[in-house]
C-alpha cells in the first residue's frame, strides 16, 4: 500500500517535470504537422523563399496579425528581418483558437525566441478581423 503511494508521487512528479520541459506539447505537435515542412524544425525558414520564425522581428512587431495568418494564410509581400518574402502561404482553417494559441506559444518560446505567452482570449480578439472562418469547437 505504502509502495503504491510512493509510485503515485513519483508519477505525479514525472508528469509535472515533463510539463515543465515541454510547456506547449500540443503546439509542438501541431507545428510539426502543419508548419514544419516550410518553416523547418528549427524555425529557420528557407532563404529568400520562406521567412524564419526563429528570431523573426515580425512576430514581435505584429503579434496581432499572426492568428489570422495561421488560419487564412497570406499572399503578397511581407518583410521579415529586412528581407522581402512573397511566397504564398496556405491557411489551416481547421485549427481552433486554442490550437492556434498553442502553436503561437510554441513558436514564441522555441529556438531562442523569448516572446510573451499569449492567452486564448487574446487570440480570439485577434481572430475577429477574419471571423468569417471561425469554426465552432
Amino acid at each position: 500500500m505504502k509502495n503504491s503511494i510512493y509510485v503515485l508521487v513519483l508519477l505525479v512528479f514525472l508528469a509535472l517535470s515533463a510539463c515543465e520541459t515541454y510547456p506547449y506539447q500540443q503546439g509542438k505537435i501541431l507545428y510539426t504537422n502543419f508548419c514544419e515542412n516550410c518553416h523547418m524544425a528549427d524555425g529557420s525558414g528557407l532563404k529568400g523563399l520562406i521567412p524564419p520564425l526563429a528570431g523573426a522581428d515580425y512576430l514581435q512587431k505584429y503579434p496581432e496579425k499572426i492568428p489570422c495568418i495561421i488560419r487564412n494564410g497570406i499572399k503578397g509581400e511581407m518583410t521579415v528581418n529586412g528581407q522581402v518574402y512573397d511566397t504564398e502561404m496556405a491557411g489551416i482553417e481547421r485549427l481552433t483558437e486554442f490550437e492556434i494559441t498553442n502553436i503561437i506559444n510554441y513558436i514564441h518560446t522555441s529556438w531562442g525566441n523569448n516572446l510573451p505567452v499569449v492567452e486564448h482570449l487574446q487570440v480570439r480578439e485577434w481572430l475577429k478581423p477574419c471571423e468569417k472562418n471561425v469554426k465552432p469547437f
Binding site: 515542412n37 516550410c38 523547418m40 529557420s44 528557407l46 532563404k47 529568400g48 523563399l49 520562406i50 496556405a90
Partner: protein, 204 residues
C-alpha cells in the same frame, strides 16, 4: 583462457564488419544486363533535353565529365519540397567550389513552373544556373525520366498541391550511372549522402 578466445573472436567479428561494410567505391545502382560479349551493361540515364531558369538548354552534355545531384519538385508544393530544397541547399553550399559536381532540380508541374517562375525561385534561394539548374520541359518527358532516377513524378488531383513525387536526391556519375540516393527530407540521411558524393568525387 576461455575469455581470451571469446575476445579474439569478437574482435575478429568487429574487424570483419568494418572492412566488409565500407567498400571503397560506390556501387552502380539499378538493373544490369549481360552484353553481347558477356560484359555487364549497367542502368544508364538516357538522353534528355530540358530548359533551365535562364532559358538555356540543359542536356547530357551539360554534365559531361561531371557528377550531379538531381531531384523532383514543384514551386507551389505545400509538403516536402521546402525541406528537400533546404537539404539541396546544404549540398550546394558544401560543394560550391567543387567544379565536378552540379545540381539539377526538375519541376513536376511544368504547367505552372515556367522559366520565369523557376528563375525567381532560384534567385530567392540565392543560387545560379552555373551550379544549380532548375529545369522544365514537356511533362511526359520529365515523368518518363523520373523512372530512370528511381523517383516518382505524377499529376494527382488528390495529392496536396495536385502533384505527387518522391523527395529523393539522386547522385549520378559522369558515366550517367546512378551511384547513390537519399531521402531529401532527412538531414541525417543527407549527411551520409554527402559522404557518398565525396567518395565519388575522389574516384579516379
Amino acid at each position: 583462457m576461455r575469455y581470451l578466445g571469446f575476445a579474439i573472436i569478437l574482435f575478429a567479428i568487429f574487424n570483419a564488419c568494418q572492412t566488409s561494410f565500407e567498400p571503397k567505391t560506390l556501387p552502380i545502382l539499378g538493373e544490369r544486363e549481360a552484353g553481347p560479349k558477356g560484359d555487364t551493361i549497367y542502368h544508364t540515364i538516357p538522353d534528355f533535353s530540358f530548359v533551365n531558369q535562364d532559358s538555356q538548354v540543359v542536356n547530357n552534355a551539360t554534365f559531361a565529365g561531371k557528377a550531379y545531384v538531381t531531384d523532383f519538385f514543384f514551386i507551389a508544393c505545400p509538403t516536402i519540397c521546402p525541406k528537400t530544397a533546404k537539404q539541396m541547399l546544404r549540398i550546394h553550399d558544401k560543394f560550391k567550389d567543387e567544379p565536378n559536381l552540379l545540381l539539377m532540380a526538375h519541376t513536376v508541374a511544368p504547367k505552372y513552373d515556367t522559366v520565369a517562375a523557376l528563375n525567381k525561385y532560384a534567385q530567392n534561394l540565392g543560387v545560379s544556373a552555373e551550379k544549380w539548374h532548375f529545369v522544365t520541359g514537356p511533362q511526359a518527358e520529365i515523368y518518363g525520366i523520373a523512372d530512370d532516377y528511381f523517383s516518382v513524378a505524377q499529376e494527382d488531383a488528390t495529392a496536396p498541391g495536385g502533384y505527387d513525387h518522391s523527395g529523393r536526391l539522386i547522385l549520378v556519375d559522369k558515366n550517367r550511372h546512378v551511384r547513390s540516393f537519399c531521402d531529401g527530407t532527412d538531414p541525417e540521411d543527407v549527411d551520409r549522402f554527402m559522404k557518398d558524393i565525396e567518395k565519388l568525387l575522389n574516384e579516379k
